[in-house]
Symmetry: C2
Subunit: 267 residues, 2 copies
C-alpha cells in the first residue's frame, strides 16, 4: 500500500492516471489498497458511493463505514449486499462523538465529507484520536473553483457560483479541495502529501463527456436551480443560460476540466 501511495505522488504517475483513467472511480481510488487484516474507518460513507470500491480494492481489510444518517446507511448496506461484499461493517455514528477505543484503526478514509463540515480541522483532529500511531488518513475532496471549460462562459461560472454560495450558507465549502494540505497539517497529521486528480474531458473521451461533464457536474449544478433562484442569488435567465453553456462544453469541440484532490497523512 505504501508503495502505491508513493507512486501516486509522482508527477509522471499522475499524468498516467489522468490520461488513462476511464472512470472517476479509477482516478480517485486506484492507488488506495489497504493490506489484509488492517482495520479501516470510512468516516461518512453516506449511501456507500465510495464504500463498494473501497471494499473491493482491499478485500482483506476490515472496513468500518460510519454515517450519521440511518437512511443513508440502509442504502449503503443494500449496495454492499448486492455486491456480495462481506468485509464492511456499517455503523450509525457521529464523527464528532465516536465511541471507539483510541487507536482502533490502522487507516482512515474520508471522501466528500469535509466539504460539508463547518469545522473540518476539528473533525480531522477528532478522527486522529482513533488512528494508530503511524496510521494513515486519506482524504478526497472536489473543488468547484477548479472548473473551467471551452467555450468559456460567464453565465456558467455564475451558475457554479450558486452551488458554492448555497453550500457556504449551509456551513460547507465547495472549494475545499485546494485546502487539503493546510487542513491536514493544521489537524496535526505528518508527512502530508496532496495529489491532484484532474478530470480533463474532450470529445475523444465520450464516456467522460456523458458520465462526468453532463451527468455528474452539470447535473449537480442544475440540481440547485430552484434553491438558487428562490434565494435571489441569481436571475433565472442567467442560471438557465449557465446550464445551457455547461452542456455546450459537452459538444464535439468542447472541453471541460475539473480537479479532485487526494491527500494522505500519517499520525
Amino acid at each position: 500500500m505504501k508503495k502505491a501511495y508513493v507512486h501516486g505522488y509522482d508527477h509522471r504517475e499522475n499524468i498516467r492516471l489522468q490520461d488513462q483513467a476511464s472512470s472517476l472511480v479509477e482516478l480517485l481510488h486506484s492507488d488506495t489498497k489497504y493490506p489484509a487484516g488492517s482495520r479501516v474507518l470510512e468516516a461518512g460513507c453516506g449511501v456507500g458511493a465510495q464504500t463498494i470500491t473501497l471494499a473491493k480494492n482491499s478485500p482483506g481489510a476490515l472496513i468500518t463505514s460510519i454515517d450519521i444518517s440511518e437512511t443513508s446507511l440502509a442504502e449503503a448496506r443494500r449496495k454492499a449486499k448486492a455486491a456480495g461484499l462481506t468485509n464492511i461493517q456499517f455503523e450509525q455514528a457521529d464523527i464528532f462523538n465516536l465511541s471507539y477505543a483510541s487507536e482502533s484503526f490502522d487507516h482512515i478514509f474520508i471522501c466528500f465529507v469535509l466539504e460539508h463540515l463547518p469545522q473540518p480541522v476539528e473533525a480531522l483532529n477528532m478522527l486522529k484520536k482513533y488512528l494508530k500511531k503511524n496510521g494513515t488518513i486519506t482524504a478526497i475532496e472536489g473543488d468547484h473553483g477548479s472548473a473551467y471549460f471551452y467555450p468559456d462562459s460567464e453565465a456558467a461560472h455564475k451558475a457554479i457560483q450558486c452551488q458554492v454560495e448555497l453550500q457556504r450558507r449551509a456551513g460547507g465549502n465547495a472549494m475545499i479541495g485546494r485546502e487539503l494540505y493546510p487542513l491536514l497539517n493544521q489537524a496535526g497529521f505528518k508527512s502530508v502529501r496532496v495529489s491532484p486528480r484532474m478530470v480533463y474531458v474532450d470529445s475523444s473521451k465520450l464516456q467522460l463527456v456523458d458520465g462526468f461533464t453532463k451527468k455528474t457536474f452539470t447535473a449537480m449544478i442544475e440540481g440547485v436551480r430552484e434553491q438558487a433562484i428562490k434565494s435571489g442569488i441569481i436571475e433565472e435567465h442567467v442560471f438557465d443560460q449557465g446550464i445551457k453553456d455547461l452542456y455546450r462544453t459537452a459538444e464535439p469541440d468542447g472541453v471541460f476540466c475539473y480537479t479532485f484532490f487526494k491527500a494522505t497523512g500519517n499520525k
Copy 2:
C-alpha cells in the same frame, strides 16, 4: 502582431522563461523523445528555452529550430553551443511564410507560441504542409484561467486578468491551453490527444514554491504592472494587493495550482 509573439527582448522575461523551463522541464518534456534520424521542426524557438531540452532528449534527431527574431535566435544559438549540442539547426523564419519543401519534417514541436497568435488554426494549418504524412505535431500551452490558489483572492484574480486582457489586446490568448483539442482538430490533425500537466504547489515542494509560484507565475503577472495600470484596466492598489496575495500563496500554508496542456496529433 509579429512583435507581440517574440519572446526574449526583455531581460526579466528571458529569466522567467529560463526558470519556467528548468523547473517544469520534466513535466512538459519527459514524454517527448524523437527517433534517431528523424527531422523535427521546432516552430518558434524564441531564446531556446525549450530547444535545449528537446535536443538533449532526442540526441539522434535533427532539429530545425526557427524563430522570427534574429536577436532571440542569437541567444538560442549561444545556449545550444554552451550545452555542446550539435543536432540543432537555427534558422530565421516566419511560421506564416516558410520556404521548406512540403513534407520536409517527421515531427513538429510548438511550445508557448500559439498563445501569441491571432490566428492559431491558420498557423497550425500552414505548419501541417511541411509535415510528412503520419508525422506528428506536439503543441504545449499554458492557460491563465487554470490558476487558482489558497488563500483565494479576488485581487489576485483581477491582477491575473490584466495579463489575459493585455495579451488579448496584443492579438493573443492567455487561456488557449484548454482549446488545444478543438484547435488541432480544426487545423485538420487526426487522432488528437490532449494531456493536461497540472502544476500543484504546496510547501512540501519548496523548489516549485520558489521556482514556479514566485519566480515564474507571480513574476510574470508582476511584469505587466506598469502596462496594466497605464492602460486603465486596473487600479494600482488592487493590482498591488493581487501580487501580494499571489506571494501569500507561497507561504507554508498556501497552495498554488496551474495547468499546462500538451497536445499531439497526426497528419
